[in-house]
């Protein structure tokens, strides 16, 4: 059965994924909107930067975040000056890392949803006296709702499955930075295969259910 440490790891993982997803929806929405609508030449650059975590080893992201947020990094000096202290090896540091790591999983579905809406509903809204912000909330958000669901689910699930970045910038502090994937690693290192099975099988079932729901939803919403 699962130990108290296992349960703490699960709770921490869910908390991290929830906070990360919430932040990503807030940050990702304007980024995706900009990417979907801009004709700027910067679109290619920003799109590539957003997609980087898809191809980079998580250790690379973790390594540079560690340098940036460390005592000699610019972000680290800023957080120290603000009295927040250092982010690495803290829950806040994990959140920052997860936001980068899961960024494309939120931005890309949103961008696709915004692009699928097209120009016409926005023009219609303008001819019906709705300003830009009004149009976004009364037309774009409802029409892009399936995209938001996909983005939130993928962002959440991908954060739950994070390992490399956590290990680099979070370490392995119980109830602070020890998430499920790290806990599994610890169990295997300690040859506690039974415990590793509980958590691993749980992850498999969770991931399968998430993807299954996402796919059956997509099929159901074909108009």
């Amino acid at each position: 059965m699962m130990s108290a440490a296992d349960l703490a790891a699960i709770r921490l993982t869910l908390e991290l994924a929830a906070v990360t997803t919430a932040i990503l929806l807030v940050i990702g929405t304007p980024v995706a909107w900009w990417l979907a609508r801009t004709r700027s030449r910067l679109k290619g650059v920003v799109g590539a930067v957003v997609a980087l975590p898809l191809v980079l080893p998580p250790t690379v992201i973790g390594f540079y975040l560690l340098l940036l947020m460390g005592p000699h990094g610019p972000v680290g000096q800023l957080t120290q000056a603000l009295g927040i202290g250092l982010l690495p090896f803290s829950f806040a540091g994990l959140v920052v890392g997860s936001v980068f790591y899961s960024l494309p999983f939120v931005v890309q579905p949103l961008q696709q949803a915004f692009e699928a809406i097209g120009e016409r509903p926005l023009e219609v809204a303008a001819t019906l006296r709705a300003g830009a912000l009004d149009t976004f909330f009364s037309v774009v958000l409802p029409l892009a709702r399936p995209g938001f669901v996909t983005a939130a689910v993928l962002g959440f699930a991908h954060t739950v499955g994070e390992f490399g970045v956590v290990l680099m910038i979070g370490g392995n502090i119980p109830e602070k930075t020890r998430v499920v994937s790290v806990q599994i690693y610890d169990h295997v290192e300690a040859l506690e295969y039974a415990q590793a099975h509980w958590l691993s099988a749980g992850m498999v079932v969770f991931s399968f259910l998430v993807l299954f729901l996402l796919h059956s939803r997509k099929r159901g919403s074909v108009r």
């Binding site: 509903p121 023009e123 219609v124 809204a125 303008a126 001819t127 019906l128 009364s138």
Partner: protein, 368 residues
């Protein structure tokens, strides 16, 4: 021209100038449209009529533009004035109805209306619903409407914002003939019951003939002609008159109904014009269409043929641009008619400007 018509109440109308250059297309149009009735922007695809309409709406940003609607300045790039689309009191009906799919018909209608200040609401929701006959559809979602129903809802939605200018981009083009016939009467009611100037984009002469009071002919992004439909359609220097289905419209009054032979006598300029059928009530103002190919000419007034309408006419001008054919512009009681005859007949009859003769009108269609 009738001198009484030139002395009008000051009507600032719609004054527009737009210049816009894209790769492969340039719009350079200056327009003066009347502040009431329906103005049709007519032209082939690629002539710039939709672009011009979008410029009027502010959806397309002309680099050098000026637009004043009934005395209100909406755009003047020379002075840095550009009122964004959502601040312009206009209604816009797109070619495809473009209803919001996530809102019911009722909430689609309310979308625009609730964003208009109460003091500026001159068209009530109920009026728009009644005018377009959409009361039974209110609780439905757009996906459960037919194409014609969607377009009627879209028109009602635009009207419910109490626009000072209604722009329509080929609202019937996406519909089949039956749906078109279903909507046209509603558009005519619009025309009759509301004092909102309408700019209507079309490439269908049939629609223009039925709906328009004023016609703007566009070609390659430029205005080829602009004027009242009675004046523009018979102009021999414009492509309309040379069309296979060239026609003129005649606004007339119903003067007599002959129940026995199912005929109606219209009167225009003191002349009778008989049409078959008893569709219009006595005294009604109607519009009739006379095709150029349905008018033949005779030097003497003859009553020994089956043709009902023989009208005294004077030849205004001739055009024999197409081989074997001569197009004759006639003056009939101050109205213009077109006659298309063979070139041989024209030569044999010695038809020349200023000549008096008789126009035999074989067919007249009642448009509205």
């Amino acid at each position: 021209m009738n001198p009484a018509a030139t002395v009008q109440a000051p009507d600032p109308g719609i004054e527009a100038r737009f210049r816009l250059v894209w790769s492969g297309f340039a719009l350079d149009a200056a327009l003066q449209l009347p502040g009431r009735g329906v103005s049709a922007l007519f032209g082939h695809s690629g002539s710039g009529k939709t672009t011009l309409l979008r410029c009027l709406a502010g959806l397309e940003r002309a680099t050098d533009g000026y637009l004043a609607v009934r005395g209100e300045l909406w755009q003047d790039d020379a002075r840095g004035v550009f009122v964004p689309t959502h601040r312009r009191p206009l209604g816009y009906v797109f070619q495809e109805a473009s209803l919001f799919p996530h809102l019911s018909v009722r909430r689609n209608l309310e979308f625009g209306q609730k964003r208009v200040a109460t003091a500026e609401r001159r068209v009530s929701l109920d009026f728009a619903i009644e005018l377009l006959g959409i009361a039974p559809l209110l609780e439905r979602m757009p996906e459960r409407l037919s194409g014609g129903e969607r377009q009627r809802v879209a028109i009602a939605r635009a009207l419910a914002t109490s626009p000072r200018l209604l722009l329509m981009d080929e609202p019937l083009a996406a519909l089949d003939a039956q749906r078109k016939a279903e909507i046209l009467p509603y558009l005519e009611r619009l025309h009759g019951e509301l004092d909102i100037p309408v700019v209507y984009v079309s490439h269908a002469p049939e629609e223009v003939a039925r709906l328009a009071d004023h016609v703007v002919l566009l070609r390659d992004g430029r205005v080829l002609a602009s004027g009242a439909i009675e004046e523009v359609m018979p102009r021999l220097d414009l492509p309309f008159a040379h069309d296979e289905d060239a026609f003129v419209v005649v606004d007339a009054q119903v003067a007599e109904r002959d129940e026995r032979f199912a005929l109606t006598r219209l009167e225009f300029g003191g002349l009778p014009l008989w049409i078959t059928g008893l569709d219009a009530p006595l005294g009604a103002q109607v519009r009739a269409r006379v095709l150029a190919r349905d008018v033949s000419l005779a030097l003497a007034e003859r009553h020994d043929s089956s043709i009902l309408n023989v009208l005294p006419a004077r030849v205004v001008s001739l055009d024999d641009a197409s081989p074997g054919r001569t197009l004759v512009r006639l003056d009939v009681a101050g109205r213009a008619l077109l006659a298309r005859i063979t070139k041989r007949s024209a030569v044999q009859m010695g038809i020349a400007p200023g000549m008096s003769l008789f126009a035999q009108v074989k067919g007249v269609a009642l448009l509205r």
